[in-house]
Amino acid sequence: MNDPIQVLTLFLFNIVLVNIPLLYGTVGEIVVEKSGSLNLGVEGTMAIGAMFGYLAGCAANSLAAGLLVSFLTAGLCGLLFAVLTVSLQANQNVTGLTITTFGLGLYFFVGKGLGERWPAMTASDGLVKGYSALEIPGLSKLPVIGKALFSHNALVYLGIAIALLVWWYLNFTKTGLRLRAVGENPGAADSVGINTLLYKYVHLIAGSGIMGLGGFYMALYMSGSFEGSNCWINGYGWIAIALVIFANWNPVLAVLGTLVFGFFNTLQIYAGPLAGAFPGPLGWLSAIPPQLYKALPFMITAIVLIASSVRKREGSGQPAALGLNYFREER
């Protein structure tokens, strides 16, 4: 275990493995925010996707069923958000927070209630197999990098594929560009004949669905073991909201951001082994309190938020109408 190369390899491997749910949450929230909605319900949405996706995956003994159900149930949260804030003009902050409260409440209610009947992941070989690592031929044989980047489970690659797809969609397709117009200025978009209502609904549902996939990933990562005290999502939904800002609303930067936040997140656990494996250059790592690593993503994001507001730079990806409800009669 104390072999330096092995420690480094495991450290890099875990940066990817443990933090991909962040990427799902972030990319989902980017889709949502690009339509002009600030949905603070990521944590709750992911919890619901995780719980129901996992249960469905176990019941059907299939990874695909789990993915589908987590996408759909989380999408329902998005639909609820859309009905309340888009059609019924409710406040977005309050609605989002309520989705989180409700989602976590439902998560614990279902999990606790199943009690003895809680399905173990090991009993469902479909899920175990689906979550097992896929070695990418050739690349996975590379030293250090091979294990760290190219021998992960299918959901890791899926998350990155979704991020790239969303990036392409937002920048190079007609609907994607129209979506961004809706987020920037719904009144103007409406006046050129874009169905803003439909755009907001579709993207709230799809974005929330993507968050739900991240929840399902988290369930598998925790091997489906339900604890009464800690939710699987464990604050990832909130970090995802921070990561959207850090990534400047860009899905490709979100991949990089996931690795940066993931680096600190994982360092919290690997500080000891790394300091042990490289006592000279990295010995100081173990002296840093783990709470600092936990707080760092939020600190960095706070600084990014402040700095970008000070500089008011042109290239900010923040949609101009973010968080504002669009009331057509007041256009």
Binding site: T101, F102, K112, S309
Partner: protein
Amino acid sequence: MKNRQPLFHVVKREGASPARQLLAYVAAVALALAVGAVLLAVQGVEPVTFYRQLITMGIPGSRYPWRAVENFIKLFVPLLIVSMALSLAFKMRFWNIGGEGQFIMGAFWAGFAAMKLGESLPRPAMVLVMALCGALGGGLYGVFVAALKVKWGTNETLLTLMLNYIALYFLQYFAETKTDWNFFLDPGSARPKFAKFPASAQMITIPIGPFNLNLSLLIAAALCVLLYIYLNYTKRGYEIAVVGDSPNTARYAGMKVGKIVIRTIFLSAALIGLAGAFQVSSAGILSASVTNDVGWTGIVVAWLAKLNTAGIVVASLLITVLQFGCQTASTTYPSIDANFANLLQGVILFIVLAADFFTRFQLVRTRKEAAK
């Protein structure tokens, strides 16, 4: 091209009747309880028994009924103060969702004072010092964001959200780091554990027979009255309403909007910090989970009450009954835990948010001639 017109269009409603609003609330609570009942029945829990236990909160038939009331008050006071404080900020459309962080800072600095000065000051002075430290700690943590918002237009929703977690891990650091200088911890314990405050740092209680009335309840009640007067009968309260309605109107009327925002947010965050101070001084000890999610729940309460001071008293009472009741009722059922309150709270708020639309707007049938 055919000119399609929707069947209905939405129009703002002028002055919704209070009876209509009240009806919406009663319906929301009833519906939420009905949804809850169905879910409970699915879990094999008898809903009527559960709800009876929830509403009575285990007080009748208990050996120490007054103890339960005292605990209820300890939960109620922080929520009441935080909700009131948040309503101040929300009235100005300043989305302070940093209640958690400001509460933690209040609790932390009150705890700091208790551990540093607890031995040397008499009890009334100590409780006062803790309250001041808490208010200052929370207030400064909030006003920092307000200043950035005024100066550069920094997004306050996202920034206060980040600050919540920074405060949380800051407190966790002191909770989990066992070193010589960390005077917050119990020196007698090998594992890191917060030390109890000295006796003089414990909240003053007024004994009435077997019942110890927590002084913070009286202070919270007084704060409610003061805040009501402040918002409705003073110039400063009026300024808050104007800025919330339209900052441009306020500017045009010669108000210094930046100053008003900074002043109000300081007051709001300081009240939240004060609630944190009361919380730790009533508990007599710090805790890493000191907030008990009150910063989030306060948002729910403020919104349920439509930022109305009297409404906040009622709503925070209702939510505390829900939470405290669920906590007590769930002890008899292994399959239910205190989180059930969150579920009910969520359903209530969803329905109220939806019902709000129909008190603010009305659907009007689009007339034929308008369609031409």
